[in-house]
């Protein structure tokens, strides 16, 4: 028993990352042994994965330092979330407060934009890489996918 071409190609990233259960990996291996086309694709996925970039050592540390240095000043005065919490507490207590705009405080610049998929397209609306795909229906996408992946199911030697 082996996996189909379609299943194999869909799972090659998990296969190369060694994230599959042993039984599932075995089905993929068995298919690769009999299917030249999928085997060629698996080699591409392997060389791509092996060549993925490694971050410079110390990057995580410099990220933490960057955040600390950019938020320290705002925190000493009052972090924006502390301001919000204070405002909520004040309202709960029936106290009127006016939140002073603090130009040095860290503000959630992309707070709403970053959580939205629309943000991606709002910049210039046209992104390299077949933006027309986004206008296709699911059926049209499925038809296009069929053209890109082998139609034959099961092991084709």
């Amino acid at each position: 028993m082996t996996a189909t071409c379609e299943t194999t190609r869909s799972l090659l990233p998990e296969w190369v990352r060694r994230e599959l259960e042993a039984s599932e990996a075995g089905l993929i291996d068995a298919h690769l042994a009999t299917c030249d086309d999928c085997s060629a694709e698996s080699q591409l996925v392997q060389v791509l994965f092996a060549g993925r970039a490694v971050p410079p050592s110390g990057l995580a540390h410099s990220v933490r330092e960057h955040i600390a240095s950019r938020t320290r000043r705002g925190r000493q005065q009052r972090p924006w979330w502390g301001l919000a919490a204070a405002a909520v507490a004040a309202v709960a207590l029936g106290i009127g407060v006016v939140a002073q705009a603090d130009p040095t405080a860290v503000v959630p610049i992309y707070a709403t934009e970053s959580g939205s998929a629309d943000a991606w397209m709002s910049d210039d609306g046209e992104i390299a890489g077949a933006p027309a795909l986004d206008d296709l229906s699911e059926d049209e996408l499925a038809a296009l996918l069929d053209e890109l992946t082998p139609a034959v199911s099961g092991g084709s030697a």
């Binding site: 933490r64 992309y110 998929a117 996408l141």
Partner: protein
């Protein structure tokens, strides 16, 4: 900001909840866990090591600052990667246009099992494949790199690149086919 270290295996959602409760060290763990992926995403968009580092720093700063707005209906990683992609696009806009792909950005991972000769051949192949990847249109390139390098699902990739799950899938397989043509 300090890190509690790689030994903290709490799920992202739990770490996010701790950050929101004021535990900055939990964000340090998220930095440790995701900085490599954010960096690779940035690098595949800006093609410059120094700029990719800047994008990584700013993406995490924005995620930290905006964590109160994270709704939790997407995975933290997709949300973070979306911020990073926006940040990289901002950098590209400021630079005017995308730089040509740089072979310098390719740093193949060494494998201990292979002989030096095998390793050299594999490194060359990897460098060729990564350079070819940089030639693909952006959505194909990101679909391939996020799927293979980071193991994102097509749904997550769609969230990051602003496409449907189906479009992300087509972009991935289209990219793989084009790479096979370029590498043959």
């Amino acid at each position: 900001m300090t890190s509690r270290g790689a030994d903290d295996e709490s799920p992202d959602a739990e770490l996010v909840a701790r950050v929101r409760a004021g535990d900055d060290r939990a964000f340090g763990v998220l930095v440790d866990r995701h900085h490599a992926g954010v960096y690779r995403l940035a690098l595949s968009m800006v093609s410059d090591v120094g700029t990719a580092q800047d994008v990584t720093q700013d993406a995490f700063l924005k995620a930290y600052s905006a964590i109160a707005t994270f709704r939790g209906d997407a995975a933290f990683r997709s949300w973070l990667f979306t911020i990073a992609a926006n940040e990289a696009r901002g950098q590209l806009r400021r630079q005017g246009r995308r730089k040509e792909s740089s072979i310098d950005s390719v740093q193949p991972v060494a494998s201990e099992a292979a002989s030096p000769e095998e390793e050299a051949i594999r490194s060359q192949e990897s460098a060729r494949a990564r350079t070819a990847l940089q030639l693909l249109p952006e959505k194909q390139r990101l679909s391939v790199s996020l799927r293979i390098d980071e193991g994102l699902s097509f749904r997550e990739i769609g969230e990051v690149i602003g496409s449907s799950e189906g479009a992300a899938r087509v972009n991935y397989f289209h990219g793989i086919r084009r790479l096979r043509e370029l590498m043959s």
